[in-house]
Amino acid sequence: MATTIRTVSLLPAFPILTQLLFLLPIAAGLFGVLLPALGYLPDLGGNQFHFEIFSQLLEHPALPHAVWLTLFSGIIATILSLSLAVLLAAMLSRESLTGNKKNKKTSLFAIIRRGLIPLIAVPHAAMALGLAFLVAPSGWIVRWLSFLFMGWETPPEWVTVQDPFGLSLIFGLVLKETPYLLLMILAALQQIRAQEYIRIGQSLGYGNSLSWLKLVLPQVYPLIRLPVFAVLAFSLSVVDVALILGPTTPPTLSVLILRWIDDPDLSFRFLASAGAVLLLLLTLGSLIFWRFSEWLIFQKCRNWLSNGKRGNVNEVHNLAALSGSLLLGTAFLSLLGLAFWSLSLRWPYPLVLPQRWTSRNWERHWSSLQETAFTTLEVGVITGIIALFLVVGCLENEQWRSVRFSLRSQWMLYLPLLIPQATFLLGIQILAVRMEMDGTFLLLVWSHLLFVLPYIFLTLADPWRNLDARFPKIGQCLGASPLRILFHIKLPLLLKPLLVAAAIGFAVSVAQYLPTLFAGGGRFATLTTEAVSYAAGADRRVIGVYGFLQALFPWIALLLALAIPRWRFRNRAALL
């Protein structure tokens, strides 16, 4: 009896521990970047607080364009991803409503759904690397065009990859963020009984899509606001995708900051810190701007919601089908391109397939691949386990003590996703070096945890809260202790969401570039850091090897997460 009391009374420690694990590095990171931005970094001779660095920053010739580029690419990418995700979700819920198997478009949407969701597991860098080859002026698309129609001897002088407006960067972001937002919307739909509202809308004479837009979307949006914010913040501050697809003269602000950090002239660190603070302000400003726009749009649309206009829009359906197929096709071809490159010896323009195939690229890298893959796996698995442990602890605390994770603490959990990575990671690095913690495995796992845990929480919280509370109750009445209920009832019943959350956490860990670079002190090479550093070398065959493997790892994890419960419960009809 004492032990059970103890287990339950230990639970409040989980949210506290989790919050500490989060607050500490974020606060330290922000602090560590704010001081140098204000001129204080005694190690580099900065002993006084002043605002000169900011005026220096604002006078930097590349800054205005970089800021414009950052805002433009980040906001447009978010608007596009959200619109596409909403469009696709509307079509998908229509399909599950009618259940019409004969309709060709319907089955197309089924393919889009099945294809798009696993894309959330593919790291941004791998997708960007694949996309870069696909759309380059000498890339796969141009090669096919040349082969089939145009017969170009030299590639056309098109400005695709790294275009000055950041369009390819936006495309790369949309490719990754749309599936993520789609998944978030689909999860939110399960909470609000969307189908019933659509049925009501239909019985009142509204078309399917219109019912969705007028009745379901206003309810769903508040539920996905946080993920949308995370997407916006991520798009504004992304580094790896911007390095691969973004413009170079000048680059986006985050890449500019990274260049300053890397500058051998160490006084640039002050400028980098000020830039990081500016990036934070831009991100916060954009979030506020976004929230305000939401409110404005809602006000403007109030009338539209109840104006009684009915009917249906079939063009929307076609648009969704087109954009969904386009996204899926692009993603598929990008990854296929990586795979082909990894198996090619020579693949010059304008050949549409490699001139010579080889396994040499894989063989040459086999031993370093093994080591890198193992590090990736090790960090991902350990971080995932710690995050799951903490998240389950927090959720159990919620249930046993009937307290809901407060909105404030929930926002805090998402803080790492809302604050630009470059901002607080730079500060953390400075602090970690002081504490001789840089380049340690502990710090590496910790920094990954900051990004893995929110995603695991986001994925697991709803299924956990929505589990029929009578199951644990009846377990109690049958004499089972809280621990036994956890292990024998809840965890098995929630096996699928649990494994999916773990797989997503693993994918997030695999994809981390800046945290691995900063916290790992360069001593831990993961598939992502290798892929990005090989991207600098521009040898597509090696990029293909690392990029493909980088994409393969999380994908296998997700596949396992879906297959294991299916196999485990193959004889349990209620759980299939």
């Binding site: 009578r470 109750k473 009445c477």
Partner: protein
């Protein structure tokens, strides 16, 4: 004997009922009746110790000579049956029963007990069956047997018959009450169906 002394239930300061006193003797079935929302299910949840903390409670629950109020739910030894059978969907029929059986019964004896229990509810040989593949009546019987195997000292019935069809309901009711009498369990039935109360044959309390 199950004894309730001066039980009061409030939610957000509004009383659902107050100063409820009740005694149920071994083998006896006492029925609590009332319209939905009167707090009869909350009363059972309070007895089990699973009432959410938004409720404020007072009073005393005594089972035989133990006071239950400060015990965690799983140490109260109260068996409960709900409207839904709530068989664990991830466990087989036999495993559902085994979950309830105390851990001190081990090895072959454990298996024997469960086989015996299955036989008793006319499901012999169905240890490995998926609960989802059983009929409604079969599932209800498994739920009852699962409750009994946990060796409770009292039985709480939260409208367990209301979802069964007319014919099944009568039969299952008989089985439940028979088990209550056979195991000499003080039994508290919550229902809004007068037929249930009549069949129970014990005291009737209206909330």
């Amino acid at each position: 004997m199950l004894k309730l002394e001066n039980i009061s239930l409030k939610i957000d300061g509004n009383p659902l009922f107050s100063r409820l006193n009740l005694e149920v003797n071994a083998g006896q079935v006492t029925t609590v009746m009332g319209p939905s929302g009167c707090g009869k299910s909350s009363l059972l949840a309070h007895l089990c110790g699973t009432l959410p903390s938004v409720f404020q409670t007072s009073g005393k629950i005594i089972l035989h000579d133990r006071t239950l109020d400060n015990l965690p739910p799983h140490e109260r030894k109260l068996g409960i049956l709900f409207q839904d059978d709530l068989l664990f969907p991830h466990l087989s029929v036999g495993e559902n029963l085994a979950f309830a059986l105390p851990a001190k019964i081990r090895h072959q004896e454990r298996r024997d007990k469960i086989e015996q229990a299955l036989e008793e509810i006319e499901l012999s040989g169905m240890y490995e069956r998926d609960p989802a593949s059983l009929s409604g009546g079969q599932r209800a019987r498994v739920a009852l047997m699962r409750t009994l195997l946990a060796q409770p000292e009292a039985l709480l019935l939260d409208e367990p018959f209301s979802k069964l069809d007319q014919e099944l309901r009568g039969r299952f009711r008989k089985q439940v009450f028979a088990h209550a009498v056979k195991n000499r369990l003080p039994t508290l039935l919550v229902t809004h169906d007068p037929a249930d109360a009549k069949a129970a044959g014990g005291d009737i309390l209206s909330l």
